[in-house]
């Protein structure tokens, strides 16, 4: 259970943040008054169908203080009416890269057993007579994997789709990944079906190599590159003999390989499997296809991490580490009782590991712990 007093302190932290940063938020939302807003309050209740005017935005934020704050990717004529009556006028093209949707990435988690205020870290499937909690760890390694997908996404948006860098807004999501918002007139009116084509172009969902019309089509080009480079991955799908045959065809020409695969049913279906499994960009497709999706508001705070959904310049992406760079400016430190906290880099340095002890940590790390029931009793430091 999260204690009432801690929740009030967290809420105050959010309120103060929003007081100082409301202008930044307003300036980050294109056509604010045509959006639907939604939020989860500090009691955990979701509220939707809110429309806001620019001049009342700050007051509204001060009065309501969202724990998690969203706006529609869509623009509506009547944003505050129910879905039927909103009258959809268009939507941003958005992409979501989230560690939950990345294959081959096992989120590191710690399972703890909390019993009468005592904490025990559980190994394997140990019994727990108290409260058993799984804690997903935020870690740099995960963010780097998500970043690889993000870079692939951006490359395709720029090179294949000719979207200008200034129209591609990259954000750290505040949680476990990245969001990309494309704010370009040309894309706003696209319906779900058109967006599905764009999504499939990225993920290669439903690919059949036999239908490829052009040896320069992206999935085939990627496959050709993989055939020359990705030994280990190839061996998970193909036999060595098969790889050898395909490589020899490729030596003759790309066209030769494609024609060969068209006639070979077994190799074609193995290639399809390989392409979707290893070569597509791993985005959460539903977010792109849904034209009335809610997405976290830029520069809002994530309720479970205390981190900012922060915009990242493309040139700075390489250096960006959310745990260091997405903590709010003017972060302060607090003291709290920590049940458990693994060793973690946060804001300005290494913290932890802590077990059943008091410690001084950045406020956002305190929020991260409190919201997971791993800490309580926040006090001024």
């Amino acid at each position: 259970m999260i204690r009432k007093r801690d929740l009030v302190l967290v809420e105050n932290y959010f309120r103060e943040y929003y007081f100082k940063n409301s202008d930044k938020i307003i300036n980050s939302i294109k056509d604010l008054e045509s959006r639907e807003f939604a939020y989860i309050d500090f009691e955990g209740v979701m509220r939707r169908h809110i429309s806001l005017k620019e001049n009342e935005f700050k007051n509204w934020l001060m009065e309501n203080v969202p724990r998690d704050f969203y706006h529609s990717t869509a623009y509506y004529l009547f944003p505050s009416k129910n879905m039927e009556a909103k009258s959809w006028e268009g939507a941003d093209l958005v992409f979501d890269i989230d560690l939950d949707h990345i294959r081959n990435y096992q989120t590191k988690k710690v399972v703890v057993c909390v019993d009468n205020g005592k904490v025990k870290i559980l190994e394997n499937n140990e019994e727990c007579s108290g409260d058993r909690r799984e804690i997903m760890l935020l870690e740099e390694e995960g963010f780097e994997i998500a970043k690889r997908e993000l870079l692939m996404l951006i490359e395709i948006l720029v090179r294949d789709f000719d979207i200008k860098e200034e129209d591609i807004n990259i954000y750290f999501s505040g949680g476990r990944g990245y969001h990309v918002h494309v704010l370009k007139e040309e894309y706003q009116k696209l319906d779900s079906y058109a967006r599905m084509e764009i999504k499939d172009y990225l993920t290669y969902d439903g690919i059949d190599i036999r239908n490829i019309k052009d040896v320069d089509a992206r999935p085939f080009s990627s496959f050709v590159n993989a055939l020359l480079r990705l030994d280990n991955e190839l061996k998970e799908v193909f036999t060595e003999k098969e790889i050898e045959v395909m490589r020899s065809k490729l030596e003759e020409s790309r066209d030769r390989l494609l024609r060969f695969l068209r006639r070979n049913k077994v190799l074609a279906s193995k290639s399809n499997l390989f392409i979707t499994k290893y070569l597509g960009v791993q985005i959460d497709g539903v977010v792109t296809v849904d034209v009335s999706r809610l997405i976290r508001v830029p520069y809002s705070l994530h309720g479970k991490t205390g981190l900012v959904k922060k915009k990242i310049k493309y040139e700075e992406l390489d250096q960006f580490n959310p745990l260091a760079n997405a903590v709010r400016e003017e972060e302060k430190k607090v003291r709290l009782k920590i049940l458990y906290c693994p060793e973690i880099y946060w804001y300005d340095g290494e913290y932890g590991p802590y077990r059943e002890e008091e410690a001084v940590v950045p406020f956002s790390l305190a929020i991260y712990l409190v919201m997971r029931g791993l800490g309580h009793g926040i006090r001024e430091y």
Partner: protein, 335 residues
């Protein structure tokens, strides 16, 4: 006749739907009453033949007289219009679009580009017999070519352009041409009496075909026999539907015979029902307002992408929610 005119007529005979041809059509073919005169009546007979054959999906790619080829197209449009049957309009448009496809495939590059541009595609020629088209344009049109190999990832895409060969481009054009010809028919306000007699004859000739349309008459299908996606949408009306959800439901209900009032009545189940707004939205989707395009019911593939496809046993091997009804109807007939 000088060379210039004869070239223009040649063009119009091949592509009578093209904006370049329309002027000529107006100039030489629009006073239809003269075709009742004995020496021109044979043109009406030829037009009848063209219309009738088109309904059997037949067309010709060679002809002796460009002028006659052009005029028979226009007269055939009128005859088709007089049948007053949407299904017939569509079959005719489809056949004529196929004819155009066959001609375009053999066309010179600059000519196919001209046709494509007039249809609203910004196409540029590329080397190696390829053509470039904005990929956004491409995904807007390719949706109606349900075949899976029209997915964007099967083509080369670079700098916002998708690369097509002549055949692919001709196919895309023919999709748009089909819509253009259909609109041409729909936009004819009424048909003169002497044409109507040909229309009536055609109607009688194609009785069997028209009876087949009854197969697609679903007015006796109750809600309990709707496909699961539609049932799901019906059950959720009260809680509000997404835009694609509302769109799917309205087009579906309309297609199986609900009129605007019936559909609006169904939306009365919404707690904060607003009649004026609902009417506006429904009429918009049905093409009575706004763009005037009458949308068709989305395919299973689209419904899947919208996220409300919950297939049951009868959904197997079907690609369109209406096929679900045909399947049920067929089975009930046999039982």
């Amino acid at each position: 006749m000088n060379v210039y005119i004869s070239e223009e007529i040649r063009w119009a005979a091949k592509y009578p739907f093209d904006s370049r041809s329309r002027e000529l059509l107006e100039l030489i073919a629009y006073d239809v009453s003269e075709y009742t005169e004995d020496d021109l009546r044979f043109l009406l007979d030829k037009a009848y033949e063209r219309a009738s054959k088109a309904l059997d999906h037949k067309y010709r790619l060679m002809w002796d007289n460009d002028y006659q080829e052009l005029v028979t197209f226009y007269l055939a449009l009128l005859i088709i219009r007089g049948v007053e049957e949407d299904y017939i309009y569509r079959v005719f448009s489809d056949t004529e679009a196929r004819r155009a496809y066959d001609l375009l495939r053999e066309e010179e590059d600059k000519n196919i580009i001209s046709i494509a541009n007039n249809l609203g595609f910004q196409v540029e020629a590329e080397k190696n017999g390829k053509f470039r088209l904005s990929y956004v344009e491409f995904i807007k049109v390719s949706r109606d070519l349900s075949a899976i190999h029209w997915k964007l990832y099967n083509f080369k895409v670079e700098s916002g352009r998708v690369y097509l060969n002549k055949r692919n481009l001709a196919r895309l054009c023919s999709q748009r041409i089909k819509e253009v010809i259909y609109e041409m028919i729909k936009n004819i306000p009424s048909v003169p009496e002497f044409i109507q007699s040909y229309s009536n004859r055609l109607k009688k000739d194609k009785e069997k075909m028209l009876r087949k349309i009854e197969k697609y008459d679903f007015s006796d299908m109750g809600e309990e026999r709707f496909p699961p996606c539609i049932k799901w949408l019906m059950s959720r009306i009260g809680g509000g539907l997404s835009h694609p959800g509302r769109f799917t439901l309205v087009t579906f209900l309309h297609r199986i015979g609900y009129d605007t009032e019936d559909i609006i009545n169904i939306f009365r189940r919404v707690p904060d029902f607003n009649e004026r707004l609902t009417r506006y939205q429904v009429e918009h989707i049905l093409g009575m307002k706004g763009s005037r395009i009458e949308y068709s019911v989305p395919s299973c593939k689209k419904i899947k992408s919208y996220g409300f496809c919950f297939p049951d046993e009868d959904c197997r091997y079907i690609r369109h929610p209406l096929q679900y009804l045909i399947k049920l109807k067929k089975r009930e007939k046999h039982d």
